[in-house]
C-alpha cells in the first residue's frame, strides 16, 4: 500500500473538502493548526468497531521550509477483546475518503484502505454516503483558539478487515467527521463526543435513527462549555438540541484492565496515568415536546495518547465502545433502539 502524504507546497491547490466556509483549504501555518478526518464505524451485527483518524498538523516551530505533518491511526475492536491499534504512521492507500469532498453522490462506493505499517490491523472498505451532514459547529477557547467540526451519520462500509488472524468480511455503518481549527491541547480541556445509530434496517437505505453528541469543556471558562445533541432520521438531521437543552451525566468507572493504551508505542514511553473512563454515560436532550435519551454502557476502551505540543502530559482520547439505548419522542413519534455506540472521553493535557 502506498503511503499518502501531502508533499506539495502548503498553499497549493487541494481537492477541496466541500464548500470552503468554516473549513477552508488554506494551509496550516501555525504549529497549533489542525485538520482531520475521522471515521467511526460499528458492524451491523454489533461485534466489531472501528475508529480511524487522518490528521494534518501545522509545521513545527522554526521549520524551514514549513511543512505539514500527516498522521493516521487505525483502531479495531472485536467484542470481548481489547482494542487493537496501529501506530500513528498507518498507511492510507489513496487520498483519505471524505463525504465532504464534493461532488460526492449518495450510494456510490469509494475506497478507504488503512493498514498499520506492520500489516495489521488493516481495513479495505468501500464506503457510501446514505445521509446528509449536520450544519457545522464551533467551540471557542481563549485567545482566539477554536475547533470547528461537521459530521455525517449513516456512512455504510463493506469490505474486509484483518486483526492479524486473516481477512474477515465486515459490514459496517457509522459516522464521518471533519475538523479544522487552531488550539493548544491544554487550553481545549476535554470533550465527550460520540454517536449511535440504528444497526438494523435495509442496507440500501440510511439508518432509521442516528444520534451524534458533543460536549466540549474548555480548561478555563468552564461555564462556556459547548454541548449539543443531533438526531437524524432516515438520513436527514431532524433535530438539533443546543447546549441549554442537553444534559450529560456519568456514573461508575470502566475497569482499568478494559482500557488499552494506544498507539502501542505509547506503552514504552512512561505515559502518566489517566482518569478512569466512566462506565455509564446518559444524555437527555429536551426541547418543547421533543425529547431524546441516550444511555451508553461502556465495554472496552482504547486510550489514544496524543503528544501535546506545549505540555508534558499528553492529550488522551479514550475511544469507548459499548451497548447503547437511544430512545425518544420527536414530533409525536416515539422510538427506542437498542444498539451499539462509540463514545470518546478525551482530555488530560496540561496541569504539568
Amino acid at each position: 500500500m502506498n503511503s499518502f502524504a501531502f508533499e506539495g507546497a502548503l498553499a497549493g491547490p487541494r481537492n477541496g473538502l466541500g464548500p470552503a466556509g468554516p473549513f477552508p483549504a488554506a494551509a496550516l501555518t501555525d504549529t497549533f493548526d489542525r485538520r482531520w478526518l475521522h471515521y467511526a464505524f460499528l458492524s451491523r451485527d454489533g461485534r466489531h468497531a472501528m475508529v480511524a483518524n487522518a490528521a494534518w498538523l501545522g509545521p513545527v516551530d522554526d521549520e524551514e521550509p514549513p511543512k505539514e505533518r500527516f498522521t493516521t491511526i487505525l483502531l479495531l475492536h472485536e467484542r470481548g477483546q481489547p482494542w487493537s491499534a496501529s501506530q500513528f504512521n498507518a498507511d492510507i492507500g489513496n487520498e483519505p475518503w471524505s463525504a465532504f469532498r464534493l461532488p460526492h453522490p449518495h450510494f456510490q462506493p469509494y475506497k478507504l484502505g488503512i493498514a498499520a505499517s506492520a500489516g495489521t490491523p488493516r481495513v479495505d472498505l468501500d464506503l457510501v454516503r446514505t445521509s446528509r451532514p449536520c450544519s457545522s459547529q464551533c467551540a471557542f477557547f481563549h485567545g482566539g483558539q477554536h475547533l470547528r467540526w461537521q459530521s455525517e451519520t449513516g456512512v455504510r462500509g463493506s469490505g474486509r478487515w484483518d486483526l492479524g488472524n486473516g481477512p474477515e468480511p465486515v459490514d459496517l455503518i457509522g459516522y464521518h467527521e471533519r475538523v479544522r481549527g487552531r488550539w493548544r491541547w491544554p487550553d481545549l480541556g476535554e470533550w465527550v463526543f460520540g454517536f449511535a445509530n440504528d444497526l438494523g434496517g435495509d442496507p440500501g437505505r440510511p439508518p432509521a435513527w442516528a444520534g451524534v453528541f458533543t460536549f466540549i469543556r474548555p480548561a478555563t471558562d468552564t461555564e462556556h462549555a459547548t454541548a449539543s445533541f443531533m438526531l437524524w432520521k432516515d438520513g436527514r438531521m431532524r433535530r438539533h438540541f443546543p447546549r441549554r437543552n442537553v444534559s450529560f451525566a456519568v456514573r461508575g468507572e470502566l475497569d482499568r484492565d478494559k482500557v488499552t493504551m494506544t498507539p502501542p508505542l505509547a506503552r514504552l514511553l512512561g505515559v502518566p496515568p489517566m482518569a478512569p473512563v466512566p462506565k455509564r454515560l446518559a444524555i437527555v436532550a429536551r426541547q418543547g415536546d421533543d425529547v431524546v435519551m441516550l444511555d451508553f454502557d461502556a465495554e472496552a476502551a482504547a486510550r489514544v495518547v496524543i503528544p501535546s505540543e506545549n505540555s508534558i502530559r499528553p492529550f488522551s482520547v479514550n475511544e469507548v465502545v459499548g451497548d447503547c439505548l437511544l430512545a425518544g419522542r420527536i414530533g409525536g413519534e416515539q422510538f427506542a433502539i437498542e444498539t451499539r455506540g462509540i463514545v470518546e472521553f478525551a482530555g488530560g493535557a496540561g496541569g504539568d
Binding site: 476535554e190 465527550v192 460536549f215 469543556r217 468552564t222 461555564e223 462549555a225 454541548a227 447546549r243 441549554r244 437543552n245 442537553v246 444534559s247 450529560f248 451525566a249 456519568v250 456514573r251 461508575g252 468507572e253 482499568r256 484492565d257 496515568p273 489517566m274 482518569a275 478512569p276 466512566p278 462506565k279 455509564r280 446518559a282 444524555i283 437527555v284 429536551r286 425529547v291 435519551m293 444511555d295 454502557d297 430512545a327 425518544g328 419522542r329 416515539q334 427506542a336 472521553f345 482530555g347 488530560g348
Partner: protein, 549 residues
C-alpha cells in the same frame, strides 16, 4: 425488620461497622466525643456517640443527657440515608431540629452529611432504609415534575422531567454488568453538563467506599474456587481429598485473600493474578491451621470441629501436609502468567512469611511449654509481629504487591509498619472476642484461648498486675494439660481478668495500635494513588479500629 426509626438507625450503624469501617471511622472522627440524643417522629429514641474510632448507636426508652438533641420528622429521616432521595443537605430544611452548642452542632452535621453521602451508596444500607420506607407507605416522596398516575416503565421515561443525572441516579443506577457481578459499590452519578454548569468527566471521586463484608466474601469465594480446581476428584477421597475440600470451603473471614487481591489491584495488577497468588497463600494458611489446631489441641475451627477431632490426628497431619504441597503447586502455577522474576518474588515473600510465622509460633509454644508468661507487652508485640503481623497482614499485602509486579524492597517495606500495627491490633481483638464474643460470630470455641493457655495481652496484664496468690493460681491452671481443664477453670481465669481490668486494658492497647496503624497506612502508602483496591485496604485498616467488641 426494624419497624421503629431508632432501630433503623442502630441497624444501619451496626451494618456499616461491619461492611464499611472506613465510613464509620471518618464519621466518628467528625463526631469526636459528642453524644447525640436522637428523637424520631414515631416517638422512638436513640443515642449516638463516638467511642474511640467507633460509632455506638443504641436504642433508649427515656431521654438521656446529650450534647446535641436532634429531632427528625418523618420526612427528614426518610431522606437521611435513602440513596434514592436527594442528599440530606438539600432535604432537611425545616424538617430537622438540632439543639446544642455551635461547635457541637457543626460536628454533628458533618457526621450526618458524611454518613448520608458515603453510606447511602451501599446496597445493604439502602435495603434497610428502603424496607423501612416501604413499610411507611405514606412516606413515598412524590416524583419530581408532574406526578404520573401509573408506574413509569422504560417506555414512558420521557414523561418525567428528569435530566441525565437523575436518569443514572434514580431510574437506572446500575449497569447490567454490575448487577450480574453483584457489585456492591454504587458510586453516585456525576453531572457533566446540566445546561448551565459543567463538570469534568475526569473528576472521578477519590473516595471509594465499598461493602467490606461483600468484598471479603467475594474475594474468599474466588480464591476457594481457584483452590478447588486443584484438588483432584480421585482416591483417596475419604482419607485425604474430602478432608481438604471440607476444610478449604469452610466459612472464614477472607481477610488474607482480600488483602492479597486488593493490594494487587491497588498497584495496577490483574485480578486473576491476585486471585492465584491469594489461593497459594490461603492453601499454606489452611495447612498451618490444621497443624496449629493439633498443636493447640483446639476442638473447633471456623464454626466446626477441627479436622483432627473429626478424623484423628494422623489423617489431619497428612491432610495439612498435602495442603502445603498443593500450596507449592499453586505458587508455581503463577509462573506462566507472572513470569519467573515475579514468581520468585512471590516465593520469597511466602518463604519469609513462613519463617516469621514458625518463629512466632515457636516463641508462643515455648512460653506455654515452659509455663512462662512474659512480663512485658513488648514481648507479646514481638511474638505477635512474627506470628500475626507478618502472617495475617504484612505478607498478604506484599504477596499481592509481588503479584502486581512490585518486587522492589523499598516499596514492599512501605506495607510493613502499618500492617504490623494493624495485625497485632487485630490479633488482640480476636483474643478479646474469644473471651467476650459469641461463639457463633467468632467461629472458635468460647474461652478456647484460656483452655489452651494462650499468652494473650490480657493474660500478660493479669500476671503483671494481679496479687501473688492469683498469679500462682492462674499459673497452676496454665500448667494443667488441655484435656484436664474444664470450662469452670476457664471461667475462673476470665473472672480474674475482668477483676484486674485486663480486658479493658487490652481494648485500649488494641485501639492504640489500630489508630497508629491507620495513621501509618495513610502516611506510608501515599505513593499509591486513590483507587478501589486501595479503598478496600483502607476499609480493612479501619475495620480493626471500628470492630464492635
Amino acid at each position: 425488620m426494624a419497624t421503629e426509626a431508632a432501630s433503623v438507625l442502630v441497624a444501619t450503624i451496626d451494618s456499616l461497622a461491619r461492611r464499611a469501617p472506613a465510613i464509620i471511622a471518618s464519621a466518628a472522627r467528625e463526631l469526636g466525643s459528642i453524644r447525640l440524643g436522637l428523637h424520631f417522629g414515631d416517638g422512638s429514641l436513640a443515642m449516638l456517640a463516638g467511642e474511640h474510632s467507633r460509632l455506638v448507636a443504641r436504642r433508649i426508652e427515656t431521654p438521656e443527657p446529650a450534647d446535641v438533641e436532634v429531632y427528625f420528622d418523618d420526612r427528614s429521616l426518610a431522606r437521611l440515608f435513602d440513596g434514592s432521595g436527594r442528599p440530606a443537605i438539600e432535604a432537611l430544611e425545616s424538617s430537622l431540629d438540632m439543639r446544642g452548642s455551635r461547635e457541637d452542632l457543626l460536628a454533628a452535621w458533618r457526621c450526618f452529611v458524611l454518613l448520608s453521602q458515603r453510606a447511602s451508596g451501599l446496597r445493604a444500607v439502602q435495603a434497610i432504609w428502603s424496607e423501612y420506607r416501604d413499610s411507611k407507605g405514606e412516606w413515598a416522596p412524590p416524583p419530581p415534575g408532574e406526578a404520573p398516575d401509573r408506574r413509569l416503565g422504560e417506555a414512558f421515561w420521557e414523561q418525567s422531567q428528569w435530566p441525565a443525572l437523575e436518569w443514572l441516579d434514580r431510574r437506572h443506577p446500575a449497569a447490567v454488568e454490575l448487577i450480574e457481578r453483584g457489585e456492591p459499590v454504587l458510586a453516585p452519578a456525576r453531572s457533566l453538563w446540566d445546561g448551565r454548569q459543567s463538570g469534568s468527566w475526569q473528576d472521578a471521586p477519590l473516595i471509594f467506599d465499598n461493602d467490606l463484608d461483600e468484598t471479603m466474601a467475594r474475594c474468599k469465594g474466588m480464591v476457594v474456587d481457584q483452590i478447588l480446581t486443584l484438588i483432584p476428584e480421585r482416591e483417596p477421597k475419604a482419607e485425604l481429598y474430602d478432608l481438604m475440600r471440607d476444610y478449604v470451603t469452610r466459612e472464614g473471614k477472607g481477610l488474607r485473600p482480600t488483602l492479597v487481591i486488593a493490594t494487587c489491584l491497588a498497584l495496577g495488577g490483574k485480578l486473576e493474578d491476585g486471585v492465584r497468588a491469594a489461593a497459594a497463600l490461603e492453601m499454606f494458611h489452611n495447612g498451618f491451621l490444621v497443624h496449629d489446631d493439633i498443636a493447640d489441641e483446639s476442638t473447633h475451627r471456623r464454626g466446626r470441629p477441627t479436622l483432627h477431632m473429626l478424623h484423628g490426628v494422623g489423617l489431619a497431619v497428612n491432610a495439612g501436609d498435602a495442603m502445603h504441597l498443593f500450596a507449592v503447586d499453586l505458587v508455581l502455577s503463577n509462573l506462566a502468567s507472572l513470569g519467573l522474576a515475579r514468581t520468585l518474588g512471590l516465593i520469597h515473600e511466602i518463604l519469609h512469611m513462613c519463617r516469621e510465622t514458625v518463629e512466632g509460633q515457636a516463641i508462643e509454644l515455648g512460653w506455654i511449654h515452659r509455663n512462662v508468661v512474659p512480663p512485658a507487652d513488648e514481648d507479646y508485640g514481638h511474638m505477635s509481629t512474627k506470628k500475626t503481623g507478618w502472617y495475617t497482614c504484612i505478607s498478604p499485602c506484599r504477596v499481592g504487591a509481588a503479584a502486581a509486579g512490585v518486587t522492589s524492597p523499598e516499596w514492599l517495606d512501605r506495607f510493613n509498619e502499618a500492617f504490623r500495627l494493624i495485625g497485632i491490633a487485630f490479633q488482640t481483638q480476636d483474643d478479646i472476642l474469644n473471651l467476650i464474643g459469641e461463639t457463633a460470630l467468632y467461629g472458635k470455641e468460647a474461652l478456647g484461648d484460656l483452655l489452651e493457655g494462650k499468652r494473650t495481652i490480657m493474660m500478660i496484664h493479669l500476671f503483671r498486675t494481679a496479687a501473688a496468690e492469683t498469679v500462682e493460681r492462674m499459673s497452676a491452671i496454665n500448667a494443667m494439660p488441655r484435656l484436664a481443664k474444664d470450662q469452670s477453670l476457664a471461667e475462673e481465669m476470665l473472672a480474674a481478668m475482668q477483676q484486674a481490668g485486663s480486658i479493658d486494658y487490652a481494648i485500649r492497647y488494641a485501639d492504640d495500635l489500630a489508630n497508629r496503624g491507620v495513621v501509618r497506612f495513610e502516611e506510608d502508602l501515599d505513593f499509591i494513588s486513590e483507587n478501589p483496591g486501595k479503598a478496600v485496604l483502607r476499609q480493612i485498616a479501619n475495620y480493626v479500629t471500628t470492630r464492635a467488641l
